[in-house]
């Protein structure tokens, strides 16, 4: 076959893969915002607001384009989700071309004797590899929601393919343009996610192997160092450096030369750009010119941060860290909000601070770092002032490569490790390594890898316990050994969990076959192996090392490693070539045999899809939007209420409703975590849409960063109007709590303030005796004594105002987070039913039960012990059949669980004790309810197992 024909076929096949992926992702995309950061990103794209650090301006611009295709604001989220779907399909497109590029070079190195069977072999590689990745868990998860990870996967795939394209054309005169394009895409990727930088080391090997006159071990080592250095220079040099010098320019022009703000910045950018362009035209040597062109292009991509800078100055309602001046922008880019984690050397979680004598006291030793500048709070003058210096505490005990570094997680470390052996105040090197390997590498990386290519237990987040989130094969005797239990006795909840995907290890096996075949395919194979291996390691294990993760993460973090799964997919594809080439050697009937191999290879991605489709199809699910709206609808319509929230999933969906759909813009969401920062308090003091500024009389200089962070308290109580707030158990108040008290005081009960039900009891504990439940939030009330329930408002909200996100549709995918939010709704429904029963209002209690079963049917949202309130109501209103259904269900499931838990190995049961306690509680409560209403038949049905389990528990 001719080379041109082959390339045409290859391109057409790549587009076919693109089409398949686009259709798959387009069909399964979420029709509205998704949980976690997605609502934030959608609002950022649609209205150019500022999200969490380090921001993603390029994503914002492209999402903005896609948002224009929405017919009305309710479709905006869908359009941004489709952006992820589209770009993910693009990633599959480049994956296909990458795999076939590698395969062709190994199967038919010089385009000689390109027989049809060889072409089939090569194309089959691409198809199997690309489709395996298409249907893989982690990649699909990010492809159907509005996050930056789909975009960053696309850019990584594009960059990697571009260097292969360069490799093909490296002898032609205009091949430099590919290098320059890669530099530009790198620059753009800074405005999406820094993950894309991680493919640069693998790419540097492509350059080395292509251009080096002789391949030597020393040369390869030098290339590795050069690649790593390139990433380091961009990450630690260019990105923060450009901004830092801009800061110097600002200080010079504004503080010294008394020019208005940002003059220095404009001059600096002009000088930098013109200087580089001038140098580019002045310099004669080709390599120098190329380097300058690349630097210019990286900066051109990086310039997209102008969007962040300009929009921050517009003071959008959502404006995290307010990066509207060069210094705030610097701290925003450096993600200073999240603190630093030590990498090579530093303190461990149990290290003690070093103290020194200062006068009569012993104070912790501090090292004063750089000065922090901000524009003067005094609006009459234009000057940058030093608001404080960076302080670094000095620890007495430091170690190399500290993996257990966070003092806040001390108990978590000890629990994971089952006790930590220490030497003095530091964990021993062996213990440090054990944590690194068992938790960071094994649990937080290899487990995700095996999810994608061997099988996944269920979609519930795990922390090491047997029943949640582990990897498995689907082969029962292996899984019994792996998990230390009898998997045939799994409770139906876990057996039927949609996130249970089993691939029997086939994708992994095929990938390993491909890996070994590639390595053994001569020098070209070894070189390819090195490149793919480097990509695999850099986007996988290297991130694990860099992140230095603590235990008790709020969610599973597999999305960060999609790049390494991409690399493995290349090997899966090559596995097909391995099989077909081996068979070609042994058999004569080429085409038949190859078709068989291709079909067998194709069976793997199709089997994967049969498992992963049900837990990635998010169509018809509107829970994020509706539940966010429900928080706000829990507040009254008059008075411009304020609602205090706590984390991501009770804040961002509300922001989405405000910013994108314009819903309840008379309310204001106030996040307690952000309320600790001065920039957020600034934002609360500004009006937004129909919501007036929050009643805070303090000035910026009062609550500026560094001031009032934690104030010790020595009074017993304070009066707010006629409400007495007890501060007896509080040693001190955080800035956020002070601001809440200030708001309550200034509002003088004229502006209602609500506390979300999701805010944990340790936050604002002194308000817990003054709350009235009106929905998914409590109203802080001066007249309430203890926790009260406003039955009328709760009824109105649950029955008429709340929406339930399509959870009543059969087949809708309810993941763990959605289930938790649905359970919260069930909680307040059960509270309402109990309150109505107390008032002997049986008619309305029954209505709530009917509403519950209509909107949150058991088939989508399984009963929890909250459903016992519903059962009680049914018994009291003589609807015994419906009540029995609930009681039967709860008894059956709790006994299934407890019976299975009995099969777990003694030494692995530690993590499951919590589940066992919960199901034991459920079983006891349900049985006692059946007893209370004399349900002899049910009790007799389960009595034997019930008593057995009670006996085992008390033994």
């Amino acid at each position: 076959m001719q080379q041109k024909t082959f390339q045409r076929i290859n391109t057409w096949m790549a587009w076919l893969m693109f089409a398949i992926a686009a259709v798959v992702y387009g069909l399964t995309v979420e029709p509205t915002a998704s949980l976690w950061d997605c609502p934030e990103f959608i609002a950022c794209g649609y209205k150019l607001e500022i999200g969490h650090p380090p921001g993603a301006p390029v994503f914002m611009l492209v999402a903005n384009l896609f948002a224009q295709f929405a017919k009305d604001p309710s479709q905006v989220a869908l359009m941004v989700n489709l952006l992820s779907a589209f770009l993910s399909a693009g990633c599959i497109f480049f994956l296909y071309l990458t795999i076939t590029h590698f395969a062709r070079k190994l199967v038919c190195p010089s385009f000689q004797n390109l027989s049809l069977s060889k072409v089939i072999s090569i194309e089959a590689c691409g198809v199997v590899g690309a489709l395996s990745y298409t249907f893989s868990d982690t990649f699909w998860f990010s492809a159907v929601e509005a996050e930056v990870y789909a975009f960053s996967s696309f850019l990584t795939a594009l960059m990697f393919w571009l260097i292969l394209k360069w490799e093909d054309e490296a002898d032609e005169t205009d091949s430099d343009k590919w290098i320059i394009l890669i530099a530009y895409i790198t620059g753009l990727s800074i405005g999406v996610h820094l993950l894309c930088l991680l493919c640069l080391p693998a790419m540097s090997y492509v350059v080395y192997f292509r251009k080096a006159k002789r391949i030597t071990r020393l040369g390869m080592l030098k290339t590795l160092v050069a690649g790593a250095l390139l990433v380091a220079i961009i990450l630690y040099g260019l990105i923060p450096g450009v901004v830092k010098i801009g800061g110097w320019a600002e200080l010079l022009f504004t503080n010294v030369l008394h020019c208005p703000y940002n003059t220095g910045l404009i001059c600096y950018i002009t000088v930098l750009t013109c200087g580089l362009i001038y140098l580019y035209y002045k310099v004669k040597r080709r390599l120098a010119k190329l380097s300058l062109a690349c630097v210019l292009m990286i900066l051109a991509g990086y310039s997209s941060y102008g969007v962040i800078f300009i929009r921050a100055n517009a003071n959008t309602p959502m404006c995290e860290n307010a990066p509207g001046n060069i210094f705030s922008l610097g701290s925003y880019l450096n993600r200073e909000q999240y603190g630093e984690t030590p990498l090579l050397y530093g303190p461990a979680y149990c290290s003690e601070l070093d103290y020194e004598q200062k006068g009569d006291y012993l104070v912790p030793k501090q090292k004063e770092g750089k000065a922090i500048y901000r524009p003067s709070a005094d609006s009459t003058k234009e000057e940058y002032e030093v608001i404080r210096h960076n302080i670094k505490y000095i620890y007495k005990d430091n170690m190399l490569f500290p993996r257990m570094h966070s003092s806040r997680h001390d108990k978590a470390y000890e629990q994971w490790m089952g006790g930590v052996k220490k030497k003095g105040n530091l964990p021993t090197t062996l213990e440090n390594l054990r944590f690194f390997l068992s938790y960071q590498v094994n649990f937080m990386y290899w487990r995700y890898f095996l999810w994608n290519f061997v099988g996944r237990q269920n979609n519930i987040q795990g922390n090491g316990e047997v029943e949640h989130g582990n990897w498995m094969t689907g082969i029962s005797w292996i899984d019994n050994l792996l998990l230390g239990c009898d998997t045939s006795k799994l409770p139906s909840d876990l057996k039927e969990n949609k996130g249970r995907n089993v691939f029997y290890g086939l994708p992994l096996l095929l990938g390993l076959v491909g890996l070994f075949w590639q390595y053994n395919r001569g020098s070209e194979g070894k070189r390819q192996f090195l490149m793919v291996l480097l990509l695999f390691v850099m986007t996988g294990l290297a991130i694990v090392v860099y992140l230095n993760q603590t235990p008790m993460q709020p969610r599973e973090r597999d999305y960060a490693y999609a790049g390494s799964f991409y690399a493995f997919a290349i090997w899966i594809g090559l596995g097909v070539a391995a099989l077909s080439e081996e068979i070609r050697v042994k058999s004569e009937k080429h085409k038949v045999v190859l078709s068989v191999v291709g079909l067998v290879g194709l069976a793997i991605p199709i089997q994967m899809a049969s498992q992963t489709w049900d837990d990635h199809d998010r169509s018809g699910r509107y829970t994020c939007r509706d539940f966010g709206a429900n928080y706000m609808e829990s507040t009254q319509h008059e008075g411009n209420p304020i609602i205090l929230s706590n984390g991501d999933n009770d804040t961002f969906p509300l922001w989405y409703n405000h910013e994108v759909e314009g819903f309840r813009t008379d309310t204001r969401t106030c996040n307690m975590e952000y309320l600790q920062t001065d920039w957020y308090i600034d934002q609360m003091k500004r009006p937004a849409y129909q919501s007036p500024a929050l009643p805070i009389s303090w000035q910026h200089k009062d609550y500026q960063e560094g001031k009032m962070e934690y104030v010790p308290v020595n009074i017993d109580s304070i009066n707010i109007g006629n409400m007495v707030v007890s501060l007896k158990d509080k040693k001190g108040l955080y800035k956020s709590e002070l601001i809440v008290l200030e708001m309550l005081m200034q509002a003088d009960w004229k502006r209602p303030v609500y506390l979300s039900i999701s805010v944990g009891p340790s936050v604002l504990p002194f308000l817990r005796d003054h709350l009235v439940l009106e929905g998914l939030a409590y109203r802080i009330s001066p007249t309430a004594t203890g926790k009260q329930v406003d039955v009328e408002k709760l009824y109105e909200n649950i029955m008429h105002r709340f929406r339930y996100g399509g959870l009543n549709h059969k087949g809708v995918y309810v993941d763990e987070d959605t289930k938790r939010l649905a359970n919260t709704h069930q909680l307040i429904m059960s509270v309402l039913i109990d309150s109505l029963l107390q008032q002997a209002d049986f008619k309305r209690a029954l209505e709530v039960c009917r509403k519950w079963q209509k909107e949150l049917p058991n088939v989508n949202v399984p009963y929890t012990e909250y459903a016992l309130s519903m059962a009680r109501c049914y018994y009291l209103t003589n609807h015994t059949e419906e009540a029995d259904e609930i009681v039967n269900n709860l008894l059956r499931r709790s006994i299934e669980w407890l019976t299975w838990i009995e099969t777990i190995n003694r030494h692995r049961i530690g993590g499951t004790l919590h589940s066992r306690y919960e199901w034991m509680q459920t079983m006891l409560l349900t049985f006692s309810l059946a007893d209370q209403f004399d349900r002899k038949e049910i009790m007799n049905k389960y009595r034997y197992q019930y008593e057995n389990l009670i006996k085992k528990e008390t033994d």
Binding site: M60, Q68, D174, I180, M297, G306, V307, A314, T316, A688
Partner: protein
């Protein structure tokens, strides 16, 4: 010689147009913001969140076109 020059100008020309588009986009995006006194609905005007970002994005995409039209470094003045 003239043909070569023309081709080279095309790449440079495209880059310049791209720069102008991006700058124009940023200029149109700027403007007064909300303050403590009042919420400024103009921050969400069509000019600032539709036209401006479209100009910026087209500029950034045009740079890609400019790079692809780039002829080799070695033969130029």
């Amino acid at each position: 010689m003239k043909i070569l020059l023309k081709k080279k100008l095309t790449s440079r020309k495209i880059m310049m147009i791209a720069c102008i588009l991006i700058l124009a986009g940023y200029v149109l995006m700027s403007g007064p913001g909300s303050t403590e006194k009042a919420f400024n609905p103009d921050i969400f005007s069509v000019r600032r969140i539709v036209i401006a970002p479209l100009l910026c994005l087209s500029g950034y995409i045009l740079i890609i076109v400019g790079i692809l039209k780039y002829k080799s470094i070695s033969d130029n003045t």
